[in-house]
């Protein structure tokens, strides 16, 4: 292969380093209105009255909208396939607020400053209700959502947004027979996406009265569908444009600003802009679902897994976007990594009066792999065996059929899960060497600062089987360049570049012959969007299919022009036996202007019932200060099986970027709420994400495998590397100082309290 697997500079890179106006907010609109949201200061209350008369009296305030200005339509803000598996429990504005940060009113003004002044002048009478901030008490707390109106809530009276049960074999019998039974509970906190570009949307009516939504989103087509539905506005009159996006990580898989901006544009007829502040990002946006996960394992004498029981309690916060599917991914990914004949799952997602959780890179899998990979380490220690060997002995193998994977699916019965590519053993072996496992393990740890090493394995998926679909359209130009139009959504991940590589490889042209245009609902074909690690596997295959069709047309037309029955394509030429040949450029030019004129073009869609798992082994080398409890990560080694690597540099970048997000969850990141449910740490000073000086040495490597169902043998890369670092660090901390932290993050206080 000439392009796949080779270094390719990103196609959008030059405009980005030059600081060109390519993001949503980099545009000047005349007559622009600015929206600010009034958020609830109370965790649970009925709105008795909103008096906006004083706000309306401020010069430059155009409107204040409250729940009275909107229909009672219930929907989910989750940008998912349709019908969405999330409960429809949300209204654009409601007469009840359910967390500190809930939307109460929208102020619309001629400037941000005036809109902010308007917020201060709006008077709201709240009638406070009891609030619950404890997920373990949610099922016995006062009902948070009305019995009438919302749909898809599993048990509205008990505040259970979603429930999931599955069983393979009989764990009760297997645990009774097991030679070794081990059970522990773990938890993960609310953590933030912290994409540096906040949520930002601009909307306007174009010259034909159509609504244009320019927005930082992962899901332009879901934005179009949901805005149309929520605002009772014809879908055909909506165009969604996704420009470059300044990071998303699941946070922009949510429809949170688009429907508000659109509503105001439709009400006022004027262009509008809504950008969340950093503070709003922290408390009135979305986060990772906290989970409490209890695992019970039964092993036989050969240390093989005979039974796994998994209990999940997921905290949704006040509403349930992604409630079911996040915990189904938690379970499905964690329970599909190791062979086990008897598996039982019970999972509940509950409402609390806290900030709303949502989709965040890994989509539940990090909440599952922290407990899974911690308990495996704990069992290896109890049994006095090497944790790498315990994993190698039990992990799924090439050709395995994983029944639990099918049963859990995407929140319900899914499709067969068969392992067709598998490099986990190689990942573990390679990582063991690169981290210097034996050397660190054999060091005697004495003194104040002690060193330790830990490992974690993980799987993920490549798109949502049976649900995700990507489409691509390619047309040829007379200089042998090709316009590639895709619905796929590049968030900075590099998908435009990766798709250009696949098109170029297939068409046998250079990457700069591919002109990519993506994510514009008027001009590009449909794609479910950038989530679930679907870009390479789903959208990439659509591009490959479309390119193959175009190539077949080029060959066909080329042979007609040459007057031959047989020819082949080589490096941009159609070449017949005997040496007669014609260039791509001549073929296209003749096809356009002189010979049976036609546009060389083709489109293709792709969906898949397979969702092959990439695999990863992450190793952590840490030092723990026994006097302060501070954990310092010295080095992370991340070895990954993503099938054929399409773009090595960008794939490394995905891994290198995922690691500090997971280290943050392991060590520094968690949202803190006060006794009234108000978040305390709502800025980067108090919520610490990794900076350049916090970074340990990072080593990334890919092992060689080939996924037969993927484009050129490729699997997904975006999410898999975020699963391992947190459990690897927790295991390394135990190795260093014998302290086991089961509740993330591993703060110095927690470590020290166990040492002392």
């Amino acid at each position: 292969m000439k392009i796949i697997g080779k270094k390719t500079i990103r196609v959008d890179g030059e405009s980005l380093v030059k600081g060109k106006p390519v993001f949503a907010d980099d545009i000047k609109l005349n007559d622009l209105l600015y929206i600010k949201i009034l958020h609830s200061p109370i965790a649970h209350a009925k709105i008795k009255n909103i008096d906006s008369s004083k706000a309306m009296g401020i010069d430059g305030v155009v409107a204040v909208y409250t729940h009275k200005d909107f229909n009672k339509h219930y929907y989910t803000t989750a940008g998912q396939g349709y019908p969405e598996p999330s409960p429809r429990d949300y209204r654009i504005l409601d007469d009840t607020v359910r967390y500190v940060g809930d939307n109460v009113a929208f102020a619309v003004a001629e400037s941000v400053d005036i809109a902010e002044k308007a917020l201060e002048a709006i008077k709201v009478d709240y009638e406070e209700s009891p609030a619950n901030f404890d997920d373990t008490k949610a099922m016995n707390s006062p009902q948070m959502h009305p019995s009438d109106g919302p749909t898809g809530i599993f048990n509205v009276k008990k505040n259970i947004a979603a429930n999931l049960r599955a069983e393979v074999g009989n764990t009760k019998e297997a645990l009774a027979k097991a030679d070794f039974v081990f059970s522990k509970e773990y938890s993960t906190p609310f953590v933030q996406h912290a994409h540096i570009e906040p949520h930002i949307t601009l909307t306007w009516l174009d010259e034909n009265g159509r609504l244009v939504i320019r927005t930082a989103t992962q899901v332009p087509f879901h934005v179009r569908r949901i805005v149309a539905e929520v605002l009772d506005f014809p879908l055909r009159k909506i165009r969604v444009i996704k420009p470059r996006v300044g990071g998303a990580f699941g946070g922009k898989q949510e429809i949170m600003t688009e429907e508000i901006c659109s509503a105001v544009t439709l009400k006022t007829g004027r262009p509008t802009r809504l950008e969340l502040t950093r503070k709003e990002e922290f408390y009135a946006s979305r986060s990772r679902h906290p989970q409490k996960v209890k695992f019970t394992f039964g092993l036989n004498k050969k240390n093989e897994f005979e039974a796994m029981e998994m209990d999940i309690l997921e905290n949704c916060g006040a509403y349930g976007p992604h409630a079911l599917t996040v915990m189904s991914v938690t379970a499905q990914k964690a329970l599909s990594l190791y062979r086990c004949p008897n598996i039982k799952l019970e999972a509940n997602a509950v409402y609390t009066n806290l900030s709303i959780a949502g989709a965040y890179r890994g989509y539940g899998a990090p909440q599952g792999f922290f407990p899974l990979e911690s308990i495996i380490d704990e069992m290896a220690n109890e049994l006095n065996i090497d944790p790498i060997e315990l994993r190698k002995k039990n992990h799924v193998q090439l050709g395995d059929d994983i029944p639990i994977g099918k049963i859990i699916g995407e929140g319900g019965e899914g499709f067969p899960v068969i392992v067709r590519s598998m490099g986990l053993t190689e990942c573990l072996d390679e990582g063991k060497k690169l981290i210097g496992w034996n050397k660190i393990k054999s060091e005697k740890q004495k003194g104040i600062v002690r060193r330790g090493v830990g490992v974690a394995a993980a799987g993920q998926g490549s798109g949502i089987p049976g649900i995700d679909m990507g489409a691509a359209f390619i047309k040829m130009n007379e200089d042998a360049s090709f316009n590639l139009l895709v619905g796929a959504t590049d968030l900075g991940t590099g998908s435009d570049t990766m798709l250009a590589q696949i098109a170029a490889e297939t068409l046998e042209v250079s990457v700069d012959s591919i002109i990519v245009y993506s994510s514009d609902t008027d001009y590009t074909p449909f794609d479910t969007g950038a989530y679930a690690s679907s870009g390479t596997y789903i959208s990439g295959t659509a591009v490959k299919k479309a390119a193959e069709k175009v190539k077949a047309q080029i060959l066909d037309i080329g042979m007609k022009i040459l007057g031959v029955k047989k020819a082949e394509i080589r490096n941009g030429w159609v070449i017949a036996e005997g040496g007669k040949k014609i260039s791509y450029s001549d073929i296209c030019t003749k096809a356009m202007y002189t010979d049976e004129q036609q546009q060389i073009m083709a489109e293709a869609s792709h969906m898949s019932y397979d969702s092959p798992s990439p695999y990863n082994a992450t190793f952590a080398d840490v030092s723990v200060d026994t006097e302060t409890g501070i954990v310092k990560v010295n080095k992370i080694v991340s070895v990954t099986d993503i099938g054929q690597v399409i773009n090595p540099q960008m794939s490394e970048g995905q891994v290198e970027g995922a690691i500090p997000q997971s280290l943050g969850m392991a060590l520094t990141e968690f949202m803190i709420f006060d006794e009234k449910g108000a978040p305390i740490n709502t800025d980067f000073n108090n919520y610490h994400i990794y900076t350049a000086i916090d970074m340990p040495e990072i080593v990334t490597k890919f092992v060689n495998t080939h996924e037969p169902t993927g484009p050129y043998g490729a699997k997904a890369v975006a999410e898999i590397p975020i699963n391992g670092p947190a459990p690897a660090v927790a295991n390394a901390v135990f190795n260093a100082v014998g302290v086991r932290i089961r509740n993330l993050p591993i703060t110095p206080e927690k470590v020290l309290s166990k040492i002392l």
Partner: protein, 146 residues
């Protein structure tokens, strides 16, 4: 109040609004490489060079830049050429979403103007004020080393 300053090699004389920050001024005047990220001096997306020093423009009130020299990446390249840092960021794959890239490039430039051969710790120090959630800083650090 009227102030005078140099923005990307052009002398500007302008009336300023009370309380206006340099970030607001620049974006209103279509210098879009300077980004909003936190409005609190914590993320570095709004980094500019003020008299050669990398600073957060969200924390700078306009009246304080009278007679100062302000630089953004808009002055680093034309339609044909790229600044060496822009080139190495591209080449090393240091750009993912690109939202923090202009700020990082400016922080790196401020470092390199005073220290042509910085070590890794000095580079990390220089980039410490530029939060990036995509790259893990691995490739940006390499790009500056180059």
């Amino acid at each position: 109040m009227k102030i005078k300053f140099i923005l990307n090699n052009k002398t500007i004389e302008t009336d300023i609004k009370p309380g206006q920050t340099l970030l607001e001024y620049l974006r209103e005047n279509e210098i879009y490489s300077v980004k909003y990220g936190c409005d609190n001096g914590e993320c570095g997306a709004c980094t500019v060079l003020v008299n050669g020093k990398a600073q957060n423009s969200c924390l700078i009130l306009m009246h304080t830049i009278n007679n100062c020299k302000i630089e953004t990446v808009e002055s680093f390249s034309d339609h044909e050429s790229l600044h060496p840092l822009q080139k190495s960021f591209l080449d090393e794959g240091a750009v993912q979403c690109g939202y923090c890239s202009p700020g990082m490039i400016l922080s790196a430039e401020a470092l390199l103007r005073n220290n042509v051969n910085p070590n890794e710790d000095e580079i990390k120090d220089a980039l410490a004020g530029n939060l990036c959630r995509c790259t893990g800083y691995v490739k940006p650090i390499k790009a500056v080393q180059k």
